[in-house]
C-alpha cells in the first residue's frame, strides 16, 4: 500500500511535470491526490490498492495539508447547478470550526463543546445517523477556553476515529460502531489547559497539542500510541532541552536558535513555566523526511516587559522526528512576540521551483501578516512577504530570519498605540489555506484588521482586580475586514483577491477542476475560479461559516461538497457568546470590529451537503 502510493506519486509527479501544469506537491501520503486512472495504471493487479481519491480523511486532507482534492466533476461551467442535497442540524450553537471528514461512504462530524461526534451514512438517502458518540466533557471546560468552545475536527486512521475533547481527552472510536476503544486524559483544566485542535495520526502515533496560552499554560505536543492510547512522548515548548526533546539532532538554521537550554535562558527566572507556546493549530508530515511540522502559540504573559528575551520556543515552528519527537530544527517568526501573533497556522508542504531549482518548502501564511516560504529540510526562510497591510514590522531580515520591528509601536501600559496592523487575530488566524498543485496558488482566507491599544481599565478575575489596555480592532486599509487571497509563492505576490466585508474565518477546499470553495461569516458558501478569482456560485446557509469545506466522491460516484455552518469562534463570539456590541473591548477587542455581525447572522450548527443534479 505504501509502496504503491509512492509509485503513484512518482507517476503523478512525472505527469504533472510533463504537462507543466503546476507545481507538484511532494510529500505523498497514503491518501495522496492520485487520480483513479493513474492508480489503475500502476497497480500491481492482484490486490489493487483501494482508490481513496474520493475521501477526505483528515481536516488537511493529505499530510502536506494542501486541502486539494483531485475530484473534477464539479467544474467552473457546471458549478452553478449545485444545490443542497442534505442538511443535518448538530443541535449545538457555538462556533463550528471542524471539517466534516469522509471515508468508507461515511461522514464524521464533531461539534463544539459538548463535542458530540456523528457518523452519517452517505449510502442512504438523507444521510441518516449511523451512530452518535457523546464524550460528555466537563461543563467547566467552557469557562476555561479562551475563544469560544470550538473543535477543529476529527481524523480517521486504521479503522478508528480520533477525537480531542475540550476537557483534555483524546479518544479513539471504532469507526464502524462508534464504540470507544480508548481514552487518555492529557491535560488539566484546573491549570487552564483545554484542547481544541484536530489530532494528526502519523504511522502508529496520534499527535495532540494543548490550548490555553491565554491562561498561563505551558505548551506541549504529545504523541500517543494509536492502538493503546499510551503516551509515547511529549515535547514541551518551553523549559530545559530535555523537556523540549532537543538533542544532538537539533540543527536550527539561525544562530539565535542555537545554544543550551534556550527554553530557560531566554526567559526571566521560572517564567517559562507559564510561558505559553501551546500547540492548538495544525500539524503536517513529510513521509520522505519523516518529519512532522507544527507551530507554537504566543508567549505569556501579555505584558512583554515581564518576559525580556526571545521567549523560546514560542511563536515559531518546529520540525521533529515523527517517531521519536526529537527536534530537528526550529524557526521563530515572532521572537519576544508583542502582539499575540501565535505561530500555530498550518504549514503547506510542496516542492516548488525557486531560483532555477526545485526546493522542498513549507508555506505558512502567518498571523504576523507574512507568507513565509521556508526550506522544510533546514528551516531556512527563502522568502517572507506581506499578504495584508503590516505596520508592526518592516520586513524579515534575510540574514537573521528575525522580523524588523517598529519600536515606535511597542506597547506599554498607559501609552496609546494606534494603527497596529495586523491586529491580534493576524493576517490570518487558524483558518487554514488550500494549495492547488494545478494552479500553483495558495488560497488564503484572510483578515484585514488593525488595532489600537489605549488607556487602562479595571477588571476583575477570580476576585482579583487588574488593569489592562483597551484593545479595539477595526477594518484595515480599504474598509473591508476580510479578503480571500490567491497567493503566488514563486512570484511572491497576490495573483488575485476578493474583498469580503467580514474576516474570512473559514477553511478552503481546492479541486482538480480549479474550483475553490470557502465560506463567509455572514453565511455565504462560495465557489470561485481558482485561476481567475471569478465568483462562480454562491449559496446562503443558515448561519455564518467558520468551518472547513471538504469535497468527496459519494457512494453513487458523484462529487459532493460539504461544510458545517455555525458562526462563532473568536471572531464570531459576539453572536455565539451573545456579547454586547456596546462593549468594543469584549472578546479581546474583537467585538469592536464586528458590531454588525448579529444583524448579518445568527448562531446554529448545521451541516450542508451540495451536489450536482
Amino acid at each position: 500500500m505504501r509502496r504503491s502510493a509512492r509509485l503513484f506519486t512518482l507517476l503523478l509527479l512525472t505527469l504533472l511535470l510533463t504537462y507543466g501544469c503546476g507545481n507538484p506537491a511532494s510529500s505523498a501520503p497514503a491518501s495522496a491526490a492520485a487520480p483513479p486512472a493513474a492508480a489503475a495504471a500502476v497497480s500491481p493487479g492482484v490486490n489493487p490498492a483501494p482508490d481513496t481519491s474520493g475521501d477526505w480523511v483528515r481536516p488537511g486532507r493529505d499530510y502536506a495539508s494542501t486541502r486539494f482534492s483531485p475530484l473534477d466533476q464539479i467544474t467552473p461551467q457546471n458549478v452553478k447547478q449545485l444545490s443542497v442535497k442534505t442538511t443535518f442540524s448538530t443541535g449545538v450553537l457555538h462556533g463550528h470550526e471542524a471539517a466534516p471528514i469522509v471515508v468508507n461512504d461515511t461522514m464524521y462530524i464533531v461539534t463544539p463543546w459538548p463535542n458530540l461526534v456523528y457518523a452519517l451514512d452517505l449510502s442512504k438517502d438523507g444521510a441518516p445517523v449511523k451512530w452518535k458518540y457523546e464524550p460528555k466533557p466537563l461543563a467547566a471546560a467552557q469557562g476555561v477556553a479562551c475563544c469560544d468552545v470550538v473543535n477543529r475536527g476529527v481524523v480517521y486512521a486504521g479503522g478508528a476515529i480520533f477525537l480531542n475533547t475540550l476537557d483534555n481527552r483524546t479518544i479513539a472510536l471504532d469507526a464502524a460502531s462508534g464504540k470507544e476503544k480508548w481514552a487518555t486524559k492529557l491535560g488539566d483544566l484546573s491549570k487552564g489547559e483545554t484542547i481544541t485542535m484536530a489530532p494528526l495520526v502519523v504511522k502508529d502515533k496520534v499527535l495532540v497539542g494543548n490550548s490555553g496560552g491565554e491562561m498561563g499554560v505551558r505548551g506541549w505536543l504529545t504523541a500517543l500510541d494509536a492502538n493503546t492510547g499510551r503516551v509515547a512522548w511529549r515535547a514541551y515548548s518551553t523549559g530545559p532541552d530535555k523537556d523540549v526533546l532537543i538533542g544532538p539532532r537539533f540543527k536550527p538554521f539561525y544562530a539565535s536558535d542555537r545554544g543550551g537550554d534556550l527554553g530557560i535562558h531566554t526567559w526571566p527566572a521560572d517564567a517559562w513555566r507559564n510561558g505559553g507556546g501551546t500547540v492548538w493549530g495544525w500539524i503536517s508530515y513529510d513521509p520522505q523526511l519523516n518529519l512532522v511540522y507544527y507551530g507554537t502559540s504566543n508567549p505569556g504573559p501579555w505584558n512583554h516587559e515581564q518576559r525580556p528575551g526571545d521567549n523560546k520556543w514560542t511563536a515559531g515552528v518546529f520540525a521533529r522526528d515523527a517517531d521519536t519527537g526529537e527536534a530537528v530544527w526550529f524557526y521563530q517568526m515572532s521572537p519576544h512576540d508583542l502582539w499575540d501573533y501565535d505561530g500555530v497556522n498550518e504549514q503547506v508542504l510542496a516542492d516548488i521551483p525557486i531560483g532555477g531549482q526545485t526546493r522542498k518548502v513549507m508555506m505558512r501564511a502567518d498571523r504576523d501578516g507574512y507568507v513565509y516560504v521556508i526550506d522544510r529540510t533546514s528551516g531556512e526562510v527563502i522568502s517572507a512577504d506581506p499578504f495584508v497591510a503590516v505596520t508592526s514590522t518592516k520586513g524579515v531580515d534575510p540574514k537573521t530570519g528575525r522580523p524588523i520591528e517598529d519600536k515606535s509601536l511597542e506597547p506599554a501600559l498607559g501609552r496609546v498605540v494606534r494603527n497596529v496592523c495586523p491586529a491580534s487575530p493576524g493576517g490570518k488566524d487558524w483558518q487554514p489555506t488550500a494549495y492547488s498543485t494545478r494552479t500553483g496558488l495558495l488560497y488564503i482566507p484572510a483578515n484585514n484588521l488593525c488595532m489600537d491599544f489605549e488607556g487602562v481599565e479595571a477588571n476583575y478575575i477570580a476576585g482579583t482586580p487588574f488593569v489592562g489596555a483597551n484593545v479595539r480592532m477595526y477594518a484595515g486599509p480599504g474598509g473591508n475586514r476580510g479578503e480571500f487571497i490567491a497567493w503566488d509563492p514563486v512570484a511572491r505576490r497576490k495573483a488575485w483577491s476578493i474583498k469580503e466585508s467580514f474576516p474570512v474565518w473559514s477553511g478552503v477546499a481546492a479541486t482538480g477542476s480549479d474550483v475553490v470553495f470557502y465560506g463567509t461569516m455572514d453565511g455565504w458558501f462560495k465557489a470561485v475560479n481558482g485561476s481567475s478569482g471569478e465568483e462562480l456560485w454562491k449559496s446562503k446557509v443558515g448561519s455564518g461559516i467558520v468551518g472547513q469545506p471538504v469535497t468527496y466522491r459519494g457512494p453513487d460516484g458523484k462529487q459532493y461538497v460539504a461544510v458545517l455552518a455555525g458562526v462563532g469562534g473568536w471572531s464570531g463570539a459576539i453572536v455565539a457568546g451573545g456579547l454586547d456590541p456596546r462593549d468594543g473591548t469584549a472578546a479581546l477587542g474583537f467585538v469592536n470590529a464586528m458590531p454588525d455581525l448579529p444583524q448579518a447572522t445568527t448562531s446554529g450548527g448545521m451541516l450542508y451537503i451540495f451536489g450536482l443534479p
Binding site: G143, G300, A458, A462
Partner: protein, 280 residues
C-alpha cells in the same frame, strides 16, 4: 391594653399590606429569592460551602430583604458575567470593582489595596515599589495570564525593570484545592519567596492562616505613575436598568454599613477607606 392590642394589629396589617404591595410593584425581590452569581471555589470571597465573606454579606442582604439566597455558581473567569448576570441566570454580584463596564455597579462598600506580604521575622519592612531591596529579593506576584492584562504590582515592578526576580503565581491557582489562590501567601510563609505583592483581601485572609507571622503593608505609591492604581473600590452589581434592585442594594449598603465592616474585618480585609483609628 385594648388600644395597645389594636395598635399591634394595625402594625401587622401594615406590614402585610406592604409585603402584598411589594409583590406587585417593582420591589418583587422582597419575596423572590435573592439570586446571587458567585464562584463556587474562591475563598476568601465565595465558595459553595458559603464560607466566604461575600457569602456572609449575601446572607445579610437576604435577611435584610426578608428572603433567602439562591446561588448560581460559575468560576469567576473570562465569561463569568456573560454566563451569569448578563444571561439572567442570577441578579446580583456581591463584589466587582466600582465602574466595571460589563455590569451596573453600586456605590462601593469597601476599598482595599494591593499589599506587600513578608515574614515578620525577616524584618524587611518593604513599603514601596521603589525600595532598593526589591532588586534582589524573590518577589511573588499574581499573574492573570495573557488577557492583554496583568495585576498592577506586576506592571509596577516591570516598569522599574524588576523582572528577573519576579515569580509568577497564577491568579486562578489550583482549582482542585479548597483555596486556589493561597499558594502565593504560603510561599512567603515557607520562604520560597521573600515578599509577595498580592491583592489585599486574599492576602489578609490567607496570611492569618499561616503558621508564621506575616506582615501585610499597603503598597506605595498607591497610584503608580499617572495611570496605574493599586487600590480599588469594590461594589455590588446588577444588570443595567435593573433600577429597583440597584436601589435596594445601595440602601442596604448605607443601612448595614457597620455589619458589613464587621464581616470584612473578620476576614482580615485590609481597608484604605476607613479612618486610621478604625484600621487594624
Amino acid at each position: 391594653m385594648r388600644r395597645g392590642h389594636f395598635f399591634a394589629l394595625f402594625v401587622s396589617f401594615v406590614v402585610v399590606s406592604l409585603r402584598v404591595l411589594g409583590t406587585s410593584g417593582p420591589g418583587t425581590i422582597a419575596r423572590d429569592p435573592l439570586r446571587v452569581c458567585a464562584d463556587p471555589n474562591n475563598l476568601p470571597f465565595t465558595n459553595s460551602r458559603l464560607e466566604g465573606f461575600e457569602n456572609k454579606i449575601a446572607a445579610l442582604l437576604a435577611r435584610d430583604l426578608g428572603t433567602r439566597v439562591e446561588y448560581t455558581w460559575f468560576a469567576q473567569r473570562r465569561g463569568f458575567l456573560r454566563n451569569t448576570l448578563t444571561a439572567r441566570a442570577c441578579d446580583v454580584v456581591i463584589g466587582l470593582p466600582a465602574d466595571t463596564d460589563a455590569a451596573w455597579t453600586t456605590k462601593p462598600y469597601y476599598r482595599s489595596t494591593y499589599v506587600f506580604v513578608t515574614r515578620r521575622s525577616r524584618k524587611l519592612r518593604i513599603r514601596s515599589f521603589d525600595d532598593p531591596q526589591l532588586r534582589d529579593l524573590r518577589i511573588g506576584v499574581e499573574l492573570v495570564g495573557d488577557d492583554s492584562a496583568n495585576t498592577p504590582p506586576a506592571h509596577a515592578l516591570s516598569r522599574r525593570g524588576i523582572v528577573s526576580n519576579m515569580v509568577g503565581f497564577s491568579v486562578y491557582g489550583d482549582y482542585r484545592s479548597n483555596s486556589p489562590p493561597s499558594a502565593i501567601i504560603a510561599a512567603v510563609a515557607r520562604g520560597d519567596v521573600d515578599v509577595a505583592a498580592a491583592w489585599g483581601p486574599m492576602a489578609g485572609y490567607f496570611a492569618a492562616q499561616q503558621p508564621v507571622v506575616l506582615d501585610i503593608v499597603p503598597v506605595q505609591p498607591q497610584l503608580d505613575g499617572r495611570f496605574l492604581p493599586q487600590t480599588f473600590s469594590i461594589s455590588m452589581a446588577t444588570r443595567r436598568r435593573d433600577t429597583a434592585r440597584h436601589e435596594r442594594l445601595e440602601q442596604f449598603i448605607d443601612r448595614r454599613r457597620n455589619e458589613i465592616d464587621r464581616i470584612l474585618a473578620g476576614y482580615h480585609v485590609p481597608r484604605v477607606d476607613l479612618p486610621l483609628e478604625a484600621r487594624r
